[in-house]
């Protein structure tokens, strides 16, 4: 989609999502499901900056999510500071932490599978550290204070609708950041880096700086979202926030969605997470544990038959529609 066609499509897209609560008749359960989809959508879209556009397989999404959740959560528990502020503090700490780690990693040329594995190891290291660090974490869930008189200050609403719209705002911001980045100078540097690091370097791109920038943006968004995630769960626990499988799922959704696009990960998250939650609701009580199998099979089939990702389907449909419309852009193929 070209920049000039982006704005109307984006507005339609926002309106459709924003009206979901109306479509489902304000049914709390369906709004909860939609919120879960949005949560995956936000993190996967943020992941896309690093994983999709810059082509660095990052498996540490929940490390930054967890840091954000723990910072915002503990600020609320200890000093009664609203998560709206805690979110930004969490984002800054998560991004600072990620940049410090990233600086060392990129300095020593850790890349490809070793980058993936060390970010995954990072999640597990943080989980164990917060499990042992009794003041802020520990093996017991720490519940966030709630308030009936001032739900906004504590971000503890009685309904899922506010959570849904906060997540939606996050998604819009993340999506716009992705889109802006994708067509900016640094975005093109990232794309070059993603397709061939040596070639990018030989063309004068400072790959270490570019990677660090990508990591910073990604961890900042995910860290800020961690504060929301803590309030959404209404408790913080190392296994929930520093969850290795969650981080892996994010990366899988990003890969399945199609690398190097800005909308692919969101597409994959909305289709596959809806499928997963639907399967959980339908089969969860009949055959215990069958929904991950179907989810796993869906991923396998997509990789085998649509290796370029789900976004390619959307792209083809879009190109066909343009051709049918017979406009002057009709024959251009663009991503």
């Amino acid at each position: 989609m070209k920049p000039r066609q982006f704005v109307p499509a984006f507005i339609v897209f926002v309106l459709i999502i924003a009206l979901i609560p109306v479509f489902v008749g304000f049914n709390e359960y369906f709004i909860l499901l939609a919120t879960v989809v949005l949560i995956y959508g936000v993190i996967t879209t943020a992941w896309n900056v690093m994983g999709g556009i810059a082509g660095q397989l990052d498996l540490g999404a929940t490390a930054y999510l967890g840091i954000g959740a723990y910072v915002a959560g503990n600020m609320l528990i200890w000093w009664n500071i609203t998560p709206w502020i805690g979110m930004f503090v969490g984002a800054i700490i998560a991004a600072g932490f990620a940049s410090a780690i990233g600086y060392v990693m990129f300095r020593y040329g850790v890349k490809e599978i070793w980058y993936a594995l060390s970010t995954l190891g990072l999640v597990e290291v943080l989980r164990v550290i917060f499990m042992l660090w009794k003041e802020v974490g520990g093996p017991l869930e720490k519940y966030l204070p709630r308030s009936k008189t001032d739900p906004f200050y504590y971000m503890s609403f009685g309904s899922y609708i506010p959570y849904f719209y906060i997540a939606l705002i996050f998604l819009l911001i993340t999506f716009l950041v992705n889109y802006r980045l994708r067509y900016s100078k640094i975005g093109y540097s990232m794309l070059a880096l993603g397709s061939n690091e040596d070639a990018a370097e030989s063309l004068g791109i400072d790959t270490r700086r570019t990677k660090l920038k990508g990591l910073f943006i990604y961890s900042f968004i995910v860290g800020a979202f961690g504060g929301f995630y803590a309030c959404f769960c209404s408790f913080i626990h190392p296994n929930t926030d520093f969850n290795m499988n969650f981080a892996l799922e994010i990366a899988v959704l990003g890969i399945v969605g199609g690398l190097g696009t800005y909308y692919g990960p969101l597409l994959a998250a909305s289709i596959l997470v809806s499928l997963k939650e639907y399967l959980r609701a339908v089969f969860g009580t009949i055959v215990l544990g069958i929904y991950p199998a179907i989810f796993g099979l869906a991923i396998i089939l997509i990789i085998l038959f649509k290796p370029e990702g789900l976004s390619s389907i959307l792209k083809n449909v879009y190109i066909k529609l343009r051709k049918g419309g017979g406009t002057k852009h009709g024959r251009q193929q663009h991503s």
């Binding site: 850790v110 060390s118 597990e124 890969i255 215990l288 796993g296 869906a298 396998i300």
Partner: protein, 286 residues
């Protein structure tokens, strides 16, 4: 105090040798095919369940229960290679997603077929405790460690002395060159993947002599194996033993002197540090 340290180091050493055998299959797959098998822990767990089922249906001893499982795993490996991996060679990200899909299917299968309760087996014919002075180690662990050493030596000899093994090493060094030398690289990759999965059944069978299997067993062995492979360096069978012993002893010392729930901390910290500072591994080729 000294007794506690000695006991801790000895049990760490034995555990390390056992971990070496667990990581062996992953090392073969990664070393030969450059494939990131994220389902390794799941395959270990699946093999442990297979051992449980075979022993409880046939009454065989755990120590020989891998014999029927081994060819099944080998075939599954070859089928997975020809059915899925062959089509995605050269796109590592797709392969990672693919293997994670396989991992999810295995987790789910284990839960459906085995339930969520832990599955333990009665002791095998090896039982009792070996006492040396004040140290105590169960015979089943010692036996597992010995089997591990023997298996590592066999695989090492296979890779360095037989034609198929040398073809695998050649394909891992330079795929195109191996192809030009008349090696059927696809077949070699299929064999390597089958072998890597088959090698999982032996440690799984021996683990079942003193451990139980449950649907979260994969968590324990997946990343642990990757740590050992990273420490050992790319596809080095001989590097696995010292790497695994370091991991085992570090884990055991932390469990004894810091906190039992921190057991994975030293492993992953070591792993991250090694990746940063010595990406070729502690015992890798120059």
């Amino acid at each position: 105090m000294l007794d506690v340290v000695a006991q801790s180091v000895i049990s760490g050493l034995i555990n390390g040798l056992i971990y070496a055998m667990v990581a062996l299959g992953l090392s073969v797959i990664y070393g030969v095919m450059d494939l990131i098998n994220f389902a390794h822990g799941e395959f270990v767990m699946l093999a442990m369940y297979f051992t449980f089922w075979i022993v409880s249906f046939s009454g065989l001893d755990q120590t020989v229960a891998f014999l029927p499982a081994l060819p099944i795993f080998f075939l599954v490996g070859v089928l997975i290679y020809y059915g899925m991996l062959n089509r995605t060679m050269g796109t590592p990200l797709s392969q990672i997603a693919l293997m994670l899909g396989v991992a999810m299917v295995i987790r789910s299968f284990v839960q459906i077929a085995g339930g969520t309760a832990p599955k333990g087996l009665p002791p095998s014919f090896i039982f009792g405790v070996l006492n040396i002075g004040s140290l105590a180690i169960s015979y089943s662990r010692v036996a597992t460690a010995v089997v591990s050493l023997v298996l590592l030596i066999i695989v090492h000899l296979f890779l360095t002395k037989t034609y198929t093994g040398l073809s695998m090493l050649a394909a891992s060094d330079d795929r195109t060159a191996a192809y030009l030398m008349g090696i059927n690289v696809k077949r070699i990759y299929a064999l390597a993947f089958g072998l890597g999965l088959a090698l999982v059944t032996i440690p799984a069978a021996f683990l079942m002599t003193y451990q139980h299997a449950d649907p979260s067993s994969y968590l324990r062995f997946g990343l642990l194996s990757w740590c050992i492979v990273a420490l050992a360096g790319l596809g080095r069978i001989s590097g696995i033993i010292p790497a695994a012993i370091i991991v085992g002893i570090a884990e055991s010392l932390v469990v004894t002197f810091v906190a039992p729930e921190a057991h994975s901390l030293p492993i992953y910290l070591l792993f991250i540090l090694v990746i940063w500072l010595k990406p070729k591994g502690l015992f890798g080729r120059k």
